[in-house]
Every structure is written in structure tokens, then in C-alpha cells.
């Protein structure tokens, strides 16, 4: 076994375990066995003997027992337990690498670890580890192929190994990094601190000022059933407590887990025929909140739980670091049922001027709904929308500054001002944050919601229902260029059919195949999420992969041929022909050995003539291929027609 091959095996095992380690999800105690990799592979690289069979056997049993305990009691999660098991396996295997097959086991388990890790994280570090893994794996596989062919020790192997590895790296970069991320992920997202960008967060504050940048990064993509018209209010989160600078929500302790009914988490029983399904691909946000059109009744997702709080906000368990996918089923309405709560009347300490203004505006109105409409209309009419807000003078709160001095601001100012005014006159109100609208992408027939679509509006509790008000004047949005839309649709397809291929799709596929082949079993299913799966997508991808593989094989073959020319090719064929006749031809058999082995055979003289020619061509200075092939054909013919094998 060559040193390079050993090195690659060790690298793969370490990368596999490292990929799990960087997710931060595995338990340190359960993965402590991974430390054994270091002495294990140290010994392996130095070519020291492997551990005794009995020890390995006993440890394997211990490993399995621990795994069972782990799955049932310690982690209580089969997925994590498998992750821990793979680490223990790698550690054990590092002491027990005897045959080439053992190395392949290591490759396989490393791959498994990568797959598990990809479920646990989506960090950039994992991306890097994945690319490294891929390069090392390809190199190891190509090398192992050459080893199998008995050619690993020659320098000529290195060329193909490098070529294939680099080619794969480029191809992978293109497929996995460039296509899905070009438009937004790495380039578009702004992490810079100190600059205020639009977007969503679970707090809202008026601490920083200056120009607010419109961040075009995509937040979510939505496929909707039916032909609905906007405006779409993608309701996310409610804010109820304001201290003059910051809005917060005091409800987080009161979330309840939704029951699962069939394949949906149900908030409230609803009439499926009246509901609107939204298939949502939500990009990672620094939040547990999920979005949907009001009012969400049911959510269908692969996640293991969904929670809801008393304000009708929905949450996933934990902030997701990768794109999640869910279907929200909503019965559309502009208001929600609700009960009054003192928290929705809370006001910041200094609110006198705002209260005066509110009373002034609503002086002529009698009932709550009219008062609220009056405030909404007043804000919409008298204030200018602007993303450029200067810092208020000392001692003036940002909202007072907006209302009485600068008279310009963006949705957060409008919504905050309206809530404060409504609360001042005794109407319970809260700020709602989320997104509004979205660009319809004609190429994919879905909506793109961007960070720049972030919005906040107002809900006021009037007559026992939370009614929606939006005091922000609408602004004309610039349309994105069609190239960007087209690229985005590629990303959407990627997310939809490759990355996000889930059990839901499998079900859909089965149903579609069922329909295709006329089976009646799947007729009675409930309304499906939009975007039904198309068989041609599978066919196209399969075709693409086959094409790529074919090109790869072609390039490899070409390379191999050019390197050795027809002389070697013909010599290999003759060796194979002799081997089939029972001659003990191994990789260390030389041409002289062949001469002595075949002495006395009817074709020995022509074989010797050929070998002479071959040697001259291959090892001599003569570079003429003219007759070598015909000579080889003749010899092969003679060998094949020779009477019988002469076993030695």
C-alpha cells in the first residue's frame, strides 16, 4: 500500500470526524473516542501492525452496546447516536486497516459523516470541509482504482489523479457553490455592523440613524396555490413593549407546541377547501420566527415541532442555520381573534405630546374603529417616507422627532407612532413585523421576498378582534432586472428539486407516478402544496450526471492512451490474453518472464517477435507505431486459437 494512499485514508477519516465536530451538535463525551484516531493513524502511517483481532472484536461489541444506550438514553436521538457511532467506528478502524477493503469502509463512513454533518449545520466551515473532503475522496478513489489495476506505484498515475481531482473540484465549485449562491448568499448578504440595513429581527430599536440600506438578499421564496392578488402581508412577529427606544416582546415563555394531526401541525381546525397553501423556502434568519399569510391554521414541515404563542406568531424550534422549507395553510382574513391584555396599553414614560396629538386627531370620531382609521390616515397623509433619518436632537425621543420635527421616517416610525397614539387613547395595539409583497418571478412562477421587503404595521384590538392597519404610505419599488430573476429561478429550482428534495416530494412523486400509470390509490388526497414534481426534472438531472461522467471517463481514457500509446495498449491485451490461457501473469511479470513462460507454445516465435518490437517502441528510442498493432492482433489471434491453457 503506497504512502500516499495511506495518507489519503487517514485524511478522509479525520475530515469525516472533523465535519461532525464543527457542527457543534455532537456531544463531546460521546465523541471522545475520536481522539484515538491520532495514535491509530500515526501507527498506520508508520506501517506498524494492526491491533489483535480479539481486541477489535470486543471493542466493536462495546461500541454497539454504547450506541444502543446512546440512542435510547444518553442522546435519546437516533440521528446523533449514529453520528457518535461513526466516530467510534473510525477510531476503531484506524487500528485495524488490513486490506484495501478496510480503506473503502473508511471512505464510506466518512461520507456518511459528511451527510450527517450536512444535516446538522450549514456553516461556511462545513462548506470548506466538504470541498476538501471531496478533493481527497476523489484522489483516493482514483488512486485506489489504479491500485486495483496494479499501477499505483508508477509516476504516471499522479497525472491522471491530479487532473481528475482538479476537474472534479471545478465542476463541484460550479454546481454547488456558484449556481446556488451567486446571486445572493455570499455576495449579497451584508454582515457589516454599524450600518443599518433592512431586514427582520425580533427587536426593533431606534438607536442607530443614518441611511438605511435596502438589502436585496432573499429572505424567502413562496409558491402559492391559486391566483391571489396582493398586497401580501407576511406576518411574522408581534412587539408589545416599548421603552421609548426599543420594542420588545414579552411573550416568549408562553409558547405552546402545536399538535400534529396527520402530516400537519394544526393551530386550529379549519376548512381545507377555503385555505390557501403557501410553500415557503425560508433562508436562514437570526430568528425562530416563521412567516405566512394571516391567519395560519396549519403548518406542514419535516421539522419535529412547531410552536405558537398567544399573539398568533409561529416558531420553529431553534434558529435555523440553513434554508428551511414548510407549507403554511392559511384562511385569509384581515383580522384575528384576540382578548385584551394590559400589556397592549403599555406606554413609555414620556408620552405626553404624542397623547395630545392622538386626542387632537381623533377628537371628532366616536368609535374605536373610526379613531384608528383617522390616525392611520393622518400618518399616511402628513408624513414623508424616507430611509434617511437623522439623529434627533438631545432630549427628544425618536418618535417625537418623527411626529413633530423631521416629519419623515420609514415603516417602523409610522407603526410605532400609530401604536403609541392608539394606546394613548385607550385602544390596545401592537406592532407587527414581517414582510410585505415580494417580486413575482415569471420564470418560476413564485414570489421572491427580500430583506428590503421587510415591513412593520399595526394591529389594534377593536371589538374583540385584532384588526390590521398600515399607516405607511406605499412606495414604488424598483423592479429587479430579468437576468437576476432568471438566475434566482435557477436557485429556486436547485433548492426545490435538489437540495430540498424531501419526504414530501417523494410522496408527491409516488402520487404522480400513480396518476401516470393509472393507479387509483392516490385519488383522494387533500389539497397538495403547489409546485408538483415533474418527471422530466429527474430525467434531465440524470442525463446531465451521465454526460459529465462520460466526459470524465473519455478524458481519463484519452490521457491514459496518450501516455502509453498503442504499444502499451496492445501489450496489455496480450498479457490479458495469456492470463486467460492460464499463465501466471502478475503485475511484476516482465516480458522476459513471458518469453520463458511461453517457451514451447506454438505462438512463441511470433510472440517473441512482437515483444522485441514492443520493447523497442516502449523503452527504446524508436517512436514508430506502424506495424505494432497488426503484429499484436496476429499474436492475440494465435494465443486465442491455441489449444488449451497450460496451468502452471
Amino acid at each position: 500500500m503506497s504512502t500516499l494512499y495511506r495518507l489519503l485514508t487517514a485524511a478522509l477519516a479525520l475530515i469525516g470526524c472533523a465535519s461532525l465536530a464543527i457542527t457543534g451538535e455532537i456531544r463531546p463525551v460521546m465523541s471522545i473516542s475520536g481522539l484515538a484516531l491520532i495514535p491509530g493513524y500515526y501507527r498506520f502511517l508508520r506501517g506498524e501492525s494492526h491491533a489483535p483481532v480479539i481486541v477489535i472484536g470486543l471493542l466493536s461489541i462495546v461500541e454497539l452496546v454504547i450506541f444502543l444506550f446512546d440512542a435510547v438514553a444518553i442522546s435519546g436521538d437516533a440521528f446523533l447516536a449514529v453520528a457518535h457511532l461513526t466516530i467510534a467506528f473510525q477510531a476503531l478502524k484506524s487500528f485495524d486497516l488490513k486490506e484495501p477493503w478496510d480503506n473503502l469502509q473508511v471512505y464510506f463512513v466518512s461520507l456518511l459523516q459528511l451527510v450527517i454533518a450536512s444535516e446538522l449545520t450549514n456553516s461556511l466551515a462545513f462548506g470548506v470541509v466538504f470541498v476538501v473532503f471531496l478533493v481527497v475522496l476523489v484522489a483516493a478513489m482514483v488512486l485506489s482504482h489504479f491500485m486495483k489495476e496494479g499501477r499505483a506505484e508508477t509516476a504516471s498515475v499522479k497525472g491522471p489523479v491530479y487532473v481528475v481531482t482538479v476537474f472534479t473540484l471545478l465542476l463541484t465549485t460550479f454546481l454547488f457553490v456558484v449556481i446556488p449562491r451567486t446571486t445572493h448568499r455570499f455576495i449579497g448578504k451584508s454582515y457589516s455592523r454599524g450600518m443599518h440595513t433592512t431586514g427582520f429581527s425580533e427587536r426593533m430599536d431606534f438607536v442607530s440613524f443614518g441611511n438605511v440600506k435596502l438589502d436585496p438578499a432573499v429572505v424567502m421564496r413562496v409558491e402559492m396555490s391559486g391566483d391571489l392578488s396582493g398586497p401580501f402581508y407576511w406576518r411574522g412577529y408581534t412587539l408589545d413593549r416599548f421603552d421609548g427606544l426599543t420594542w420588545q416582546n414579552d411573550l416568549p415563555r408562553q409558547r405552546i407546541r402545536l399538535r400534529k394531526n396527520g402530516d400537519q401541525f394544526i393551530s386550529e381546525p379549519y376548512d381545507t377547501n377555503r385555505s390557501v397553501a403557501q410553500q415557503i423556502y425560508l433562508e436562514p434568519l437570526d430568528s425562530e420566527v416563521i412567516f405566512g399569510l394571516s391567519q395560519i391554521k396549519g403548518i406542514r414541515t419535516d421539522l419535529y415541532s412547531v410552536m405558537q404563542d398567544s399573539a398568533g406568531n409561529f416558531f420553529i424550534p431553534g434558529k435555523s442555520s440553513r434554508r428551511i422549507r414548510y407549507a403554511a395553510y392559511s384562511v385569509l382574513s384581515d383580522d384575528l381573534p384576540g382578548i385584551s391584555d394590559p400589556r397592549y396599553l403599555q406606554l413609555p414614560a414620556e408620552n405626553r405630546k404624542i397623547a395630545e396629538l392622538a386626542r387632537e386627531i381623533t377628537r371628532n370620531e366616536r368609535d374605536s374603529i373610526r379613531k384608528a382609521r383617522a390616525v392611520e390616515a393622518y400618518l399616511m397623509k402628513n408624513y414623508a417616507y424616507s430611509l434617511s433619518v437623522s439623529s434627533p436632537p438631545a432630549g427628544v425621543s425618536p418618535i417625537e422627532d418623527f411626529l413633530f420635527r423631521s416629519k419623515k421616517g420609514f415603516c417602523e416610525h409610522y407603526a410605532t407612532a400609530m401604536v403609541l397614539m392608539l394606546r394613548s387613547i385607550g385602544i390596545p395595539a401592537r406592532v407587527v413585523t414581517g414582510f410585505i409583497g415580494g417580486d413575482r418571478n415569471a420564470y418560476g412562477g413564485y414570489l421572491i421576498v427580500r430583506r428590503s421587503d421587510a415591513h412593520s404595521w399595526v394591529e389594534a384590538l377593536i371589538g374583540g378582534r385584532w384588526k390590521r392597519f398600515d399607516p405607511t404610505p406605499s412606495v414604488s419599488a424598483r423592479r429587479p432586472q430579468s437576468v437576476m430573476l432568471m438566475l434566482d429561478s435557477v436557485e429556486m429550482y436547485w433548492a426545490r428539486y435538489i437540495v430540498g428534495y424531501s419526504s414530501m416530494d417523494q410522496q408527491a412523486l409516488v402520487e404522480m407516478l400513480g396518476r401516470l400509470f393509472g393507479s387509483g390509490h392516490t385519488a383522494g388526497r387533500a389539497k397538495e402544496a403547489p409546485g408538483t414534481f415533474a418527471l422530466r426534472h429527474i430525467l434531465y438531472s440524470a442525463l446531465g450526471v451521465t454526460l459529465i461522467l462520460a466526459v470524465l471517463i473519455f478524458v481519463l481514457r484519452k490521457k491514459y492512451r496518450r501516455r502509453h500509446g498503442p504499444a502499451t495498449a496492445s501489450y496489455l491485451r496480450i498479457r490479458r490474453a495469456l492470463f486467460r490461457k492460464g499463465f501466471p501473469i502478475t503485475s511484476s511479470t516482465t516480458s522476459d518472464d513471458i518469453v520463458s513462460l511461453t517457451a514451447g507454445a506454438p505462438y512463441s516465435s511470433s510472440l517473441r517477435q512482437y515483444l522485441d518490437r514492443y520493447r523497442r517502441r516502449r523503452f527504446g528510442l524508436q517512436k514508430d507505431d506502424s506495424d505494432i498493432r497488426s503484429l499484436a492482433e496476429q499474436v492475440i489471434g494465435e494465443i486465442r486459437s491455441s489449444a488449451r491453457s497450460r496451468k502452471k
Binding site: A152, E153, T154, A155, S588, S591, D592, R618, G620, L621
Partner: protein, 295 residues
């Protein structure tokens, strides 16, 4: 030469390979199978000066290299050349003398010159040392130091002749008489020319790689304490070229490399367990057998 040493074509060929590769030859075998005869026959077939040094336990370096003596007539010190100043030097039973005297040959063998006191003297070309030795297990021998062993290109054994040839050998006249009858077949200039030509034999990259792998194999083998040196690898390639040349080819085959490996490398390695050179050669063969031949 075949007339002197019948049935030993392979051995003779190796002797010629060592000569063409500008190397030195170490012949090791039990007494009485024709070591000295082979060396003498090789020397006599060429039109070259030939000296024989019988190595004994009391031999001194000056007995080999020469000695500076005071000339009474000219009143000057003058150097009197020792037996090493000839084309073919037969160092007979080299392991009978002590290492000090053995080492006297070191510079002569590697650089074809000797240094005594202040003068450096160049040896005649071609220059070749043929040493014979008895297996180290025998009484009254000093094993050759590794540095000395490394300077021999090839290490060969002769072995008992086949029964048929042995019978002839016993019946015919004494081999020394035949030796007397041998006529030179090549001149000194021709030998030098052939040596030059053998040095230009083409070795394809993959063949050189193969050779390097075998050398590397001796360094990584678990049963070998010390593998072959870089000089060993140089000798190996030179021997392979000479071998190909002696076969009438102008290019080296992997076959040449494989065939020569045990003879070139066998005496250069130090196995972990104490073993004879023959067993070392078996180890080398094992290494060569485990490596794929370039196709």
C-alpha cells in the same frame, strides 16, 4: 572464457557487465568453485595489465598501493608503485586481511586514483578490482566494512557446476594451463570505448522510476535495517545500462533492472536479522517481485 569456466555463462556475463559499467566485482563462494579462475580469465581475455594480490592476514596497505623509498643513487625519495597500478586487480580472498588493509583500496575503487603522503596518483584506465572472498562464516576472515562493500557494483556467486560440466572439469587438464593459452580478444582502447558506449544506453523514464522503486523498497522493507545508498542506485543504473549493452541493445528494459536487482543490491543492505548475502538477495528478489513492472 567459456572454455575455462564451462557452463557458467551467466556468471561470465555479469563479470563483463561490471567491467563495462566501470564497476568492481565481488565474487563470493566457497573455495574451489573457480573464483580465481574467473578473474584471471577475464583479465587475460583483454589486452590489459593484470596484477593479483593475495590478501593475507599480515598484508599492509603499502603492499597494495606502493611505498616511498629513499633512492641511494639519486639521493631522493621516490614512490614505487604497488600492484594496484594495473588495469585489472585481483584481490584474492580479500576478507582474509584486516579492515585496515581492505580500506586501502577504497579511494582507488571509487575515484580511480590513490593518495600517498602528498601526491595523488591517477590509476590507469580501465581500472577494475575483482575481489574474491569466502563466505563470512568461515574461519580466519574479517568481514568487509559496509563502505567497502558499497563500492562493488556487483556481487556474484558462482556455485557448483552442473554434473556434466563438473565431470568435464575433472577429466581435462588443469585450468591454469588453459588460462595460459587464452589469447586477448579485445584491446584496452576497445574496452574504454565500450565502457563509454555502455554509459549512453537509453533508459526510459518509467524504467528509471522502476529502478528507484526497487531501491526505495529496500529502504522501507520491514526486515531491512539499512537500505541501499544513492551510490547503490547509481551503480544500479550503470549496471543496467551495461547489461543492456552486453545484450546488444541501446535501451534498458525493466527486465534488465529486475534481473540485476539482487546482484547489485544484495550486498548493500543490512537486514534486521543477521543473514548471509544470499539471503539478502532473496529479500531483494521478493521486493522486486512485489512491484509492478512498467508496461
Amino acid at each position: 572464457m567459456e572454455t575455462v569456466l564451462q557452463g557458467k555463462g551467466g556468471v561470465i556475463r555479469m563479470a563483463i557487465v561490471a567491467l563495462l559499467g566501470r564497476g568492481h566485482l565481488l565474487i563470493e563462494d566457497i573455495p574451489g568453485v573457480g573464483k580465481t579462475t574467473l578473474a584471471s580469465a577475464l583479465a587475460r581475455s583483454m589486452d590489459c595489465s593484470f596484477r593479483r594480490i593475495q590478501f593475507t592476514s599480515d598484508l599492509l596497505p603499502t603492499d597494495i598501493l606502493g611505498v616511498t623509498i629513499f633512492n641511494q643513487e639519486t639521493k631522493e625519495f621516490e614512490f614505487r608503485q604497488g600492484p594496484v597500478f594495473s588495469n585489472i586487480v585481483l584481490a584474492d580472498e580479500i576478507n582474509r586481511t584486516n579492515p585496515k588493509t581492505q580500506s586501502a583500496l577504497l579511494e582507488a575503487m571509487s575515484e580511480h586514483r590513490i593518495t600517498t603522503e602528498r601526491t595523488t596518483l591517477v590509476l590507469p584506465e580501465p581500472f577494475m578490482v575483482i575481489a574474491t572472498q569466502n563466505p563470512v562464516e568461515y574461519h580466519g576472515t574479517f568481514p568487509l566494512p559496509e563502505s567497502q562493500l558499497d563500492r562493488f557494483m556487483l556481487h556474484i556467486t558462482i556455485g557448483y557446476p552442473l554434473a556434466e560440466f563438473e565431470r568435464r572439469a575433472i577429466l581435462r587438464q588443469s585450468s591454469f594451463e588453459i588460462l595460459e593459452d587464452l589469447q586477448p580478444v579485445v584491446s584496452r582502447q576497445e574496452i574504454v570505448r565500450m565502457q563509454d558506449e555502455a554509459g549512453t544506453v537509453f533508459a526510459e523514464d518509467s524504467v528509471v522510476d522502476y529502478l528507484m522503486q526497487i531501491v526505495a523498497g529496500t529502504r522501507n522493507h520491514p526486515e531491512i535495517r539499512l537500505g541501499a545508498s544513492t551510490r547503490g542506485a547509481q551503480f544500479f543504473l550503470r549496471a543496467a545500462r551495461a547489461y543492456a549493452y552486453s545484450d546488444g541493445r541501446d535501451f534498458v528494459l525493466p527486465d534488465d533492472v529486475k534481473a540485476l536487482a539482487p546482484l547489485v543490491l544484495g550486498h548493500r543492505i543490512i537486514p534486521r536479522a543477521r543473514k548471509s548475502i544470499a539471503e539478502s538477495e532473496a529479500l531483494i528478489e521478493e521486493i522486486a517481485e512485489s512491484l509492478p513492472v512498467p508496461l
